[in-house]
């Protein structure tokens, strides 16, 4: 059953990603103003969506872990945080690649960029905590608390950064959203790409979750074995 699910997810995400690649590079018309570089947008936005989805899962899994106390919620939170970090990095990287020819700079302190970057730092801290602290029920609780606090902070970050930029007027008024996707083929490509990334995210999440569950199981078996041996020697 588990094997089937994994294989199905892998095949679907593979096919969907191929379709998305085909649409991005062949099917969709080139944007008039920005040229070829605009096509990165069809990967940029899905990455952002997946990153935010992952961070939402971290918080929900954290709350569920504190409430129900089952290890699987902790593992889900960990897996989602790792993937969220990967996709958040991809958002920043693809955004920079797009911004250099269009805005003339790799980085600008625009409100969305700043918010994404702060989120990236937040979850970098979360992963550092997990990397430093190892694996125990205590750390699982700490991580859950941190995940919840992090998500609570998101609306305040968004508001504060937006206010910060309105007081200092943004140098660059162009925003991706305002370019509009005039051609219906652009909308179709974006939707397929979003779907492909979401399925791929679910697949990766499933793989990571399975690995983490195995790790927990191995740790438990080791502990039991050690207890058994200690008993045998006595």
């Amino acid at each position: 059953m588990k094997g089937y699910l994994s294989v199905t997810l892998a095949t679907t995400s593979c096919l969907a990603m191929l379709a998305a690649l085909f649409m991005v590079f062949v099917y969709v018309p080139t944007e008039v103003d920005q040229g070829i570089v605009q096509r990165i947008f069809y990967f940029h936005l899905p990455c952002a969506w997946v990153a935010f989805l992952a961070f939402g899962i971290v918080a929900i899994a954290g709350a569920l872990y504190l409430w129900l106390g089952h290890k699987i919620w902790d593992e889900l939170g960990y897996a989602a945080a790792e993937l969220g970090m990967v996709f958040c990095t991809l958002v920043l990287v693809t955004g920079s690649i797009w911004a250099k020819p269009i805005w003339g700079t790799w980085w600008t302190w625009d409100s969305r960029l700043t918010t994404t970057f702060i989120l990236w730092l937040l979850y970098g801290g979360y992963l550092l905590l997990r990397a430093f602290a190892g694996d125990s029920d205590e750390i699982a609780r700490f991580a859950a608390v941190l995940g919840i606090v992090g998500v609570l902070d998101v609306p305040v970050i968004i508001i504060s950064v937006r206010l910060w930029r309105t007081i200092h007027p943004a140098v660059l008024l162009t925003r991706q959203g305002e370019h509009g996707l005039q051609d219906p083929r652009m909308v179709a490509t974006l939707l397929v790409s979003l779907g492909a990334f979401t399925i791929m995210f679910i697949w990766l999440l499933w793989l990571r979750l399975t690995t983490l569950r195995l790790r927990t199981r191995v740790a438990m078996l080791r502990r039991n074995l050690a207890l058994l041996e200690a008993g045998a020697y006595r």
Partner: protein
């Protein structure tokens, strides 16, 4: 001061007399009593050793020295640099202060005694928050005085208006630091981890606080920075509430 610090069990008799029959009132009084006892204990410890005060005040002054050396004392952007210096000093003094307040408990397993005492974990959080805030306020006063001297500011209305801004920021920072220092105190390389966890979470208050401070130092009235003050208040309420509710999950041991 001495009377305040002199903890006596007389509080227990009072609560029994006043709160008999009303469970809510009684539990509130018990909470306040526990809160007062922990705060008094920490302050007495501080009055006798003076460790945290010395560390925090000297750290903040050193940060200001670095800022003055880097940016120069005068110049057109004096208010902004002074505001930046204030907030940098506040962040580092704040993380250090909160760590100190919790570290004292961790040494020789004092925290276990606190947890065994009939005090709610949330009350311990409130007390530690108050102590961290008092440490931060001490450092803040030192920073303000030195700030005026170093940056040739005027002792006047601008400085007075800076107090509520810095105080609102300090409440949020203390709330965040108390919660996260409990976590970082328990893990390897925790001292290194704490700023990495605190600073990104504190960014909204940092933006609001430093913008409001710069405006106020440049001579604007508090009404001009009302938006930032509201944001600071929202941040404080959010994180004091979050810390109060979540502290139980980080302080209890397996």
């Amino acid at each position: 001061m001495a009377a305040f610090l002199n903890f006596s069990p007389a509080g227990g008799d009072q609560s029994e007399g006043a709160g008999r029959g009303n469970p809510f009132f009684r539990s509130l009084l018990a909470m306040l009593e526990g809160f007062g006892a922990i705060v008094r204990k920490d302050l007495r410890l501080e009055v006798r050793s003076g460790e945290s005060t010395v560390a925090l005040v000297s750290l903040s002054i050193l940060i200001l020295v670095v800022m003055v050396l880097a940016f120069g004392p005068g110049g057109a952007r004096r208010a902004e640099v002074a505001a930046a210096a204030l907030w940098i000093a506040l962040i580092f003094a704040g993380t250090l202060g909160a760590t100190r307040a919790l570290l004292a408990e961790r040494e020789s397993g004092c925290i276990r005694g606190l947890l065994l005492s009939p005090v709610e974990p949330a009350t311990i959080y409130a007390a530690k928050l108050a102590v961290a805030l008092i440490f931060m306020a001490e450092a803040g006063v030192a920073v303000l005085v030195v700030l005026v001297l170093f940056f040739n500011l005027e002792f006047g209305g601008g400085l007075l208006r800076l107090i509520p801004v810095a105080l609102l920021g300090a409440v949020g920072l203390a709330a965040l630091c108390t919660l996260l220092a409990t976590i970082s105190g328990r893990v390897r390389a925790g001292a290194m981890l704490l700023p990495v966890l605190v600073v990104p979470l504190f960014t909204p208050a940092l933006i609001a606080g430093s913008k409001a401070s710069a405006a106020v130092l440049a001579g604007q009235p508090l009404s001009a920075v009302a938006t930032w003050l509201k944001l600071l208040c929202a941040f404080d309420v959010l994180f004091v509430a979050a810390g109060y509710l979540l502290f139980e999950h980080v302080i209890l041991e397996d």
